[in-house]
């Protein structure tokens, strides 16, 4: 009888230890692997959020109009929306997704990143999606060109 009691107790303890400690964070590369292999912006957004229907307001995407060096193009995303997540996509590189941020309790949506953009002379559109806590998507877009060879002119 005692042995049985011990076994059931240890079983309980094992279950308790396996329960994840407050999963607030999300690794989008693991939870949504298809986002990172999608080739078009629409495909990537659908893979991430299940829809591409988004309101074009409330999201400010700041980038230079002409980037001299495609190897490091500065990007800034700003928004006052009470959001769950923010994602950035572009249509120049082989795959569309660049980054997906998880917005935490004290986070402010004002993210700066440097990204790579493939330059073939045609205008590139960068898209930032903000997923609001109300479940709606908000989008900000910016079109720019990347000068070839890393020199302007």
């Amino acid at each position: 009888m005692q042995r049985r009691k011990f076994l059931s107790l240890s079983g309980l303890a094992a279950v308790a230890a396996m329960a994840p400690a407050s999963v607030n964070a999300e690794d989008f590369r693991k939870s949504k692997p298809t986002v990172w292999t999608a080739h078009t912006v629409d495909d990537a957004i659908t893979a991430m959020y299940g829809t591409t229907a988004a309101t074009e307001s409330g999201v400010t995407l700041t980038m230079p109009d002409v980037a001299s060096n495609g190897g490091a193009v500065p990007v800034n995303v700003k928004s006052d929306i009470d959001a769950k997540s923010v994602a950035i996509f572009q249509n120049a590189n082989p795959e569309a997704a660049i980054a997906a941020f998880t917005v935490h309790e004290n986070s402010i949506i004002n993210y700066d990143l440097k990204i790579k953009l493939k330059s073939d002379g045609t205008p590139i559109t960068v898209t930032a999606i903000v997923e609001g806590k109300d479940g709606k998507l908000y989008v900000g877009k910016k079109t720019l060109t990347v000068a070839l060879g890393g020199c302007e002119g």
Partner: protein, 102 residues
Amino acid sequence: MKVKAKLKGDIVKVKALAKHAMTTYDQAKKKTGNSDDANFITRVTATVNGKVVYEVSTSQFLSKNPIMKFQFKAVGVSKGDKVVMTWVDRKGNTKSGKGKIK
């Protein structure tokens, strides 16, 4: 990882630099013929006093040695606290850095 953090008013501004080659699949294919050699940072997190304040999953299209800037509300955070940032890359390597909030 280099981390600089500054408290201004009730906002903490953080600037971080990760040293990483960030090779894309195309670059790896050109160099070694095997696109699976690509290696890039896939995830960056920042915590202050054990609380996550910044979290991003990234693709191969961040620049080489990417610089990241972000802000957060200084709730329960004061000068002298440390911002701890960690990145993980595609091959599973990980590196972290700390910066005191000034």
